[in-house]
């Protein structure tokens, strides 16, 4: 049976950028389980690896933010994922040059707290028809992972524990 909820973990700045510059439409990777490490060994969810497990992503980001370590690989990856998207979105005419500038400066000169992890809780019934199963070659393990390309801000709750 499919789970009722889907979970995704993203830093605050990513949420803010999609809210402000992408019309409150969010691209998310999500999972049926918040923490695959706490599932039984025979559960399909237990096959989801740490790199795609919302619980692990949450802990990694939280630890990185608390340490305020500028050299942390997770933070550097998050920073540059947003910058590359800003450049590509502008190149594709999806955002303005001013929006690209603001995103890049927010990333480069922003405060560390903006990398704090947020948990998106998504009721499955609202997005079931738009849920994309990530094909095996593109996901990190046998565990199921999903993408939603056009998740509206009104379709999920944001939790910052």
């Amino acid at each position: 049976m499919s789970s009722l909820l889907l979970y995704s973990v993203n830093p605050y700045l990513k949420y803010h950028i999609h809210q402000k510059y992408r019309g409150d439409t969010h691209f998310v990777w999500c999972s049926e389980y918040f923490d695959s490490r706490k599932l039984g060994g025979f559960s399909a969810g237990s096959l989801i690896p740490p790199s795609s497990n919302p619980g692990s992503l949450y802990e990694d980001l939280k630890e990185a933010v608390e340490s305020e370590d500028e050299g942390n690989l997770k933070i550097i990856q998050q920073k540059n994922s947003l910058k590359l998207l800003a450049v590509e979105w502008e190149e594709a005419g999806q955002i303005s040059a001013a929006a690209k500038e603001e995103i890049i400066i927010s990333v480069d000169k922003g405060h560390f707290k903006q990398w704090s992890p947020l948990i998106y809780v998504i009721p499955r019934t609202l997005v079931d028809s738009r849920l994309i199963s990530v094909p095996r070659p593109s996901r990190a393990s046998l565990g199921m992972e999903f993408q939603i390309h056009d998740l509206k801000g009104s379709e999920f709750d944001v939790i910052q524990p």
């Binding site: 790199s51 992503l57 190149e91 890049i104």
Partner: protein
């Protein structure tokens, strides 16, 4: 500057570096690639080779530290190229207004008059500047989160151990672009307020107001503290002040941050501090300090 990209425009350079960054990130951090942004793999590999060479790293080294340095380097070059034609001060002002700059990136402004006033509370210029630029914690009260008012209030806190009598400096400031104008600075001794529910700067302000604040009436609401309240214009035109204090003859410090529009009075935050009560407690701490030192 990467030599392999010297014949490309800044815009093209940014797109190539974005493509290279995408190649180096986990799938989960990327989104589908827009058609226009595709870059040939040969160019990416040439650039990547030069980055490894510049950083004196071996391309077979896949350690976290090596990856972090390479991605960070490419990211800085990407920023440089993407912002090549930009007015950086203008961009920082826009981002600063949104509350997205780190505290040290804001320029703090404190008038001589305000500085003199805050000395009454035992707070000096050095402490105020340190509280803003080296804050232990800060909070930008963002209109998007708290309501439709476009006044931008920021709170900064910095704690001092002060022997056995620790205190925190709380600064309330107005954010305008990449500038912070200090409006209030309070010295708050830990032993004077209830810290049970203090998790962030706004909680500290509320605990401080709970102890030293006085009842105020704003529009039709009477409380010790109001935040993001919009009062219709007709309240003012009927000759009623937009707020009233209930503090008697005691002196007070008004913590109102308001904006007058044609139709409304927008109150971002509103409170008054009973200075008599607050200064009396500050004096007790000073006397305690003197008695311990003598």
């Amino acid at each position: 500057m990467l030599h392999t990209l010297k014949n490309f425009s800044p815009q093209e350079t940014a797109v190539i570096l974005a493509s290279l960054t995408r190649q180096m990130l986990p799938m989960e951090l990327t989104e589908p690639i827009p058609e226009q942004s595709k870059v040939d793999s040969e160019t990416r590999e040439r650039v990547l080779g030069e980055v490894y060479q510049k950083l004196r790293l071996n391309q077979d080294d896949k350690s976290d530290e090596s990856q972090a340095r390479v991605i960070d380097y490419i990211g800085k070059e990407m920023s440089r190229a993407a912002l090549a034609g930009s007015d950086l001060q203008d961009v920082e002002n826009r981002v600063g207004q949104q509350g997205n700059l780190r505290p040290e990136a804001y320029k703090a402004i404190l008038t001589t008059q305000d500085e003199a006033y805050f000395r009454r509370y035992g707070v000096n210029r050095v402490q105020i500047k340190a509280t803003v630029n080296e804050a232990d914690d800060f909070q930008h009260l963002l209109p998007g989160l708290f309501g439709p008012v476009d006044n931008s209030v920021s709170l900064f806190t910095k704690s001092y151990s002060n022997g056995d009598d620790p205190f925190t400096i709380l600064v309330q400031a107005e954010r305008k672009g990449a500038t912070i104008r200090v409006e209030h600075a309070f010295k708050i001794y830990d032993s004077d307020i209830n810290y049970d529910h203090v998790r962030e700067p706004l909680d500290l302000l509320l605990a401080f107001i709970e102890k030293y604040g006085s009842q105020i009436t704003v529009g039709n609401e009477t409380a010790k503290f109001v935040m993001y309240k919009s009062i219709p214009h007709d309240v003012r035109t009927r000759g009623i002040n937009f707020f009233q204090t209930h503090i008697g003859n005691d002196s007070f410090r008004s913590g109102f941050h308001v904006k007058f529009t044609q139709d409304t009075v927008e109150v971002a935050v509103g409170y008054v501090i009973n200075e008599k009560k607050y200064l009396a407690d500050l004096k007790l701490h000073e006397e305690l300090r003197h008695s311990l030192n003598s």
